[in-house]
Amino acid sequence: MNVSDSTPAMNNLMGSEADSQRTLYPYVTGTSVVGIKYKDGILLAADMGGSYGSTLRYKTVERLKSVGKHSIIGASGEISDFQEIMRNLDDLILYDNMWDDGNSFGPKEVHNYLTRMMYNRRNKFNPLWNSLVLGGVKNGQKYLGTVSMIGVHYEDNHVATGFGNHLARPLLRDEWHENLTFEEGVKLLEKCMRVLLYRDRSAVNKLQIAKITEEGVTISQPYALKTFWGFSAFQNPTAGAEGSW
């Protein structure tokens, strides 16, 4: 929204562009983020794809970021809006640090701040087109929550955005439990990400896993999942329909 465009002097010049500008649809988007609580903290997984509509255009988009000492965030949806959110959060953490008083924002505070921000934009009919996952550990307390572009927010032991809700959550509901080790957690997340890779058109085979514990944040180097396509049904696909492809 350009403030200078709405001054009285500029009104006539605006002419046909007299409506206010607001987000109508996203352009470059990230797909699912999946998050789980495990024994020592939180694990988040997201691939590194930035789709431009149906084109899988950008393949090195970091959708998992750390926020301060105690939290990590994963975003799906419009990537430029996520970058704006990160600018906001980095400022928030900066001002928090500037107090220099031993207090620091934990994941709960960051999650609620994000919720207020998303809901406020939604009320102005100019949303930040993202679904966010926010996880962290502070003073031994684990926290995992999510916020959508309209401000819907909740916490749970496992959360996901987008397609992850439909494909990953059922797996997590069956297989998640309180005392997952790090290895078990990663394996479970990889299982979810593999299903998403097979079934989500916007998924790319290059992912990162982010871990946060009381000690700190680690975001893994990007890697690919092994997939299997050697099903007999995939041999001679045009066997029953000559001429098709």
Binding site: W99, D101, N103, G106, K108, E109, H111, N112, R116
Partner: protein, 271 residues
């Protein structure tokens, strides 16, 4: 402090580098009735003397709940105190709304101090004439701060402000080392003892004082008169400290709450 040519404006320095208006504002705090605060590792107790101007009127409210985890007691211009309490409540609510988390006491106190400082640097304003004892709990434990009209703030283990607060301070100085590990009830008792010192011989009853407590698992609340009188009776009977000489050795309140009768024996009071 005598009248001089540098004390009309808060924005005028004296040659000695003093802002007299700010110092006069601090005088106003010294003239108000006493307020005391003390803290342990887990609790903060605020206590104040509540004298009403006449029998017909109610007491001035001097202790304010700011949030579940913060409370404040004031001395000086109570109207200024009321307005600042409203500001503090607002700040706490706004922070809770945005972050779903209680505002750390240290941050509230800095905001309050910055607000007070502004009034020491604007020609069209005057300093707030109230001293605030801010007691609260946050992640890093129990805290007690004193906010000054000058815009300074200090953290204390125990402190007293207002008229005849020196007597309370003397008592607190003797005992403050025991406060950190004190139990909640002992902390309240110490507050009552300290308060009694400021009454200079007058009888301590629940009708002249107000006590408030905040602690781990205990939201900030003001103790009701009955409870306070009960506590007063408890330590007066045990007689830990020698009761200062009282002309009309007041009959023990066998019937619970003390009736605030005509105070013919009372020591000369400040207005």
């Amino acid at each position: 402090m005598f009248r001089n040519q540098y004390d009309t404006d808060v924005t005028t320095w004296s040659p000695a580098g003093r802002l007299f208006q700010v110092e006069y504002a601090m005088e106003a705090v010294k003239q108000g009735s006493a307020a005391i605060g003390l803290r342990s590792k887990t609790h903060v107790v605020l206590a104040c003397v509540n004298k009403s101007t006449s029998e017909l009127s109610s007491h001035q409210k001097k202790i304010f709940k700011v949030d579940d985890h913060i409370g404040v007691s004031i001395a000086g211009l109570t109207a200024d105190g009321r307005v600042l309490s409203r500001y503090m409540r607002n700040e706490c609510i706004n922070y809770s709304y945005t972050y779903e988390s209680p505002l750390p006491v240290g941050r509230l106190v800095v905001q309050l101090a910055d607000k007070a400082q502004v009034c020491t640097q604007r020609s069209w304003k005057r300093p707030y004439g109230v001293g605030l004892l801010v007691g609260g709990l946050d992640e890093s434990g129990a805290h007690l701060y004193y906010n000054c009209p000058s815009g300074n703030y200090f953290e204390y283990q125990a402190f007293a402000i207002g008229s005849r607060s020196q007597a309370a301070k003397t008592y607190l100085e003797r005992k403050f080392e025991t406060f950190t590990d004190s139990s909640r009830d002992n902390l309240v008792k110490d507050a009552l003892f300290a308060l009694r010192e400021t009454l200079q011989g007058e009888k301590l009853t629940s009708s002249v004082c107000t006590i408030a407590v905040v602690g781990v698992g205990e939201a900030f609340h003001i103790l009701d008169q009955e409870t306070v009188q009960g506590l007063i009776n408890e330590f007066e009977i045990v007689g830990e400290e020698p009761t200062p000489a009282d002309e009309t050795a007041a009959p023990d309140q066998g019937s619970g709450a003390a009736a605030p009768g005509p105070s013919e024996d009372v020591a000369p009071m400040d207005i």
